[in-house]
């Protein structure tokens, strides 16, 4: 067929442009698309409102006060009226031995918490998963979940009583072996093990629920297939259960790393005393003493902001590393 007979031949490019234009004119704009989406899914957004309000009121509005970390704050002049002083408070903090000690303690306690506290719920979940007797399994789970529901004050009371030099069970047992009683809670070297141990005891059981839920999500046919292949229970745990719950473990690890500097503040306050400040004082207790008790709100705000920035960097780094090497990430 000659090109003269069909006017479309040789106009391909023009026709494509025309078609694209026509398509574009038919496609709704982005604003219209958002509008359509809101109209269609408005119920979901209504349900979201309380959470957004909570975040705005309790987490975002207080951020306005963060600026006092860079100001010479006076409660009489208010946040807006106080003069800017730049990074002076941060310089003061890093020249303050107490803050540096608190920072060091925070890092050490957090590291121990991560080292001993993070694997424990995973181990507990794996152990619970292997228990075949349902009655025993439920009883054991209840026992290890229980401390989570007990107030920190009572937990601290139990710990103080247990480690008491006069009537505490620990010193009583040590006495049976002829060991002299030790007043553990006044000894700086004992504070960290007791604190970390208490945290593990209180939370490991409850935290294991997340891993038990992840294990429950593993398809039973994977195990059946492995049984037919000849795998033992131990091999199934290593080769199926743990790899299957690895994404959950990584997510929990990222969250944990993000909260690393948030050492259980109230438990430290309840357990520490001036004699153990050397190993027990952490950034949060330092902020409490300086800010609330000492009235240095601006300095405390600077310490708090530093804490938050470090936590942010930690969580970003952990997430990026995890995304790169394990395909699992928070976002």
């Amino acid at each position: 067929m000659s090109a003269d007979l069909d006017p479309a031949i040789g106009r391909t490019e023009e026709l494509v442009v025309e078609a694209r234009e026509a398509q574009r004119s038919r496609r709704p704009g982005s604003l219209q698309r958002v509008g359509d989406h809101l109209k269609r899914e408005w119920q979901l957004y209504v349900m979201l409102i309380p959470t957004v309000l909570w975040l705005l009121i309790f987490l975002y509005k207080p951020m306005y006060g963060l600026q006092i970390a860079f100001k010479d704050y006076s409660i009489f002049r208010g946040v807006a009226g106080s003069p800017w002083i730049g990074f002076e408070h941060f310089q003061t903090l890093f020249g303050n031995d107490q803050f540096l000690r608190a920072l060091k303690n925070t890092i050490i306690i957090s590291f121990y918490g991560l080292l001993f506290g993070f694997p424990m719920p995973i181990l507990l979940a794996l152990m619970f998963n292997e228990i075949l007797n349902q009655t025993f399994k439920k009883s054991a789970q209840t026992i290890v979940y229980l401390p989570h529901f007990v107030s920190s004050v009572i937990i601290a009371g139990i710990v103080i009583t247990a480690f008491s030099p006069s009537a505490g069970i620990v010193n009583t047992i040590m006495g049976w072996f002829g060991i002299e009683p030790i007043y553990f809670l006044t000894k700086p070297e004992w504070f960290r093990p007791i604190f970390v141990g208490t945290g593990v005891w209180q939370e490991a059981g409850f935290q294991s629920i997340v891993y038990l839920a992840a294990i429950a999500g593993v398809s039973p046919t994977l195990y059946e297939s492995a049984v037919v292949d000849g795998a033992s229970r131990w091999q199934m745990m290593w080769k199926i259960t743990i790899p299957s719950i690895l994404p959950t473990i990584i997510i929990m690890l990222i969250i944990r790393i993000g909260n690393m500097l948030e050492v259980s503040f109230e438990m430290i306050i309840l357990l520490y005393q001036p004699a153990t400040y050397e190993t027990a004082d952490v950034v949060n207790t330092f902020i409490y003493r300086q800010g609330i008790q000492g009235g240095q709100y601006d300095l405390a705000a600077a310490a708090g902001l530093f804490n938050a920035v470090v936590a942010f960097v930690l969580v970003m780094t952990a997430n990026t590393i995890s995304k790169r090497y394990s395909r699992t990430s928070l976002w």
Binding site: T221, S225, V227, V228, G230, K239
Partner: protein, 367 residues
Amino acid sequence: MSGVRLDGIVKAYGSVQVVHGIDLEVKEQEFVVLVGPSGCGKSTTLRMIAGLEEISDGDLTIDGRTVNRVAPKDRDVAMVFQNYALYPHLNVADNIAFGLRIRKESKEKIASSVEEVGGILGLTPYLERRPADLSGGQRQRVAMGRAIVRRPKVFLFDEPLSNLDAKLRTQMRAEIKRLHKRLGVTSIYVTHDQVEAMTLADRIVVMHDGRIEQIGSPMELFLNPANTFVAGFLGSPPMNMVTAMVASGDQGPVAEFDGQRIQLKPIPSLQNSVGEKVTLGIRPEFVNVGDQSDPRRVKVDVDLVETLGSEALIHANLQGAPFVIRTDTVGQMHVLDGISGFTIEPHLVKVFDAETGQTLPGQVLEQ
């Protein structure tokens, strides 16, 4: 002899018995399909053979050895599951090698076995991929690779094609058949799809309510169903059932219903059944619609004609119940619109006892 023998196999959960004493012998290299509706006990039976369910009573023998109390790993069986059971964190090669690694085979043997199986199943280009990056058919092939790599004595398939779409299922069905021919391993296959059963099996075991209804080759079961359940289960569309009364006709016994009659094959059991109620089984493909002027024709009310290319399905009503006719379209298109009845050769009408549903003796159709 890598055969499998089930003697009076029973499965009970507490007081509830779900498999009631199954007797079955699967010969070496045979491909046997257990087929039946959901809940008939076919998967439970297969799982008992695999060792995933305890046997409540009876004896299970594999390769001449009673294995009731033998652990699954020591039965030398391999199983392919409906949802593939692939390890999501392992790539294809590691999935295939899993069983060999568990058995602590040498690295060289594992590598060569994986390569060989990958080649057989066309998985060589995908060995480094994870299951999530594979299509349904490829995943199913990996699952089969995991089974064949160990060179077991018996393959067990638990509805392995159920998660695939119709086209892929047909393709994989052929692959399983080819694989069985190539490897010659005794295979027991569970499905609820009678087409899979008909196309794959050397012998079909039809199960219902925890019991075996009939065992035989696909054509034996198709042509000579032992009862109305088997007759209705095998064949697509299923066999039409018509309730009728046996009467004496000029040329032997006839079946009468709604003022119509069908000539029956003169078998001795029918001579004694005159006046008794029977169920007639009429295969949709055995009826003839070519001569609509035949006075012997059975009249039906045609509801719908579906033309499928080379054949057509005629949906009609008889006795107020659906009655389906399958016929060739070639040379018959002119007839399809004017169908009002059908004729059938007497020996092609199956007669079942109306009460027990069992086929009356003496009506074996040769293949």
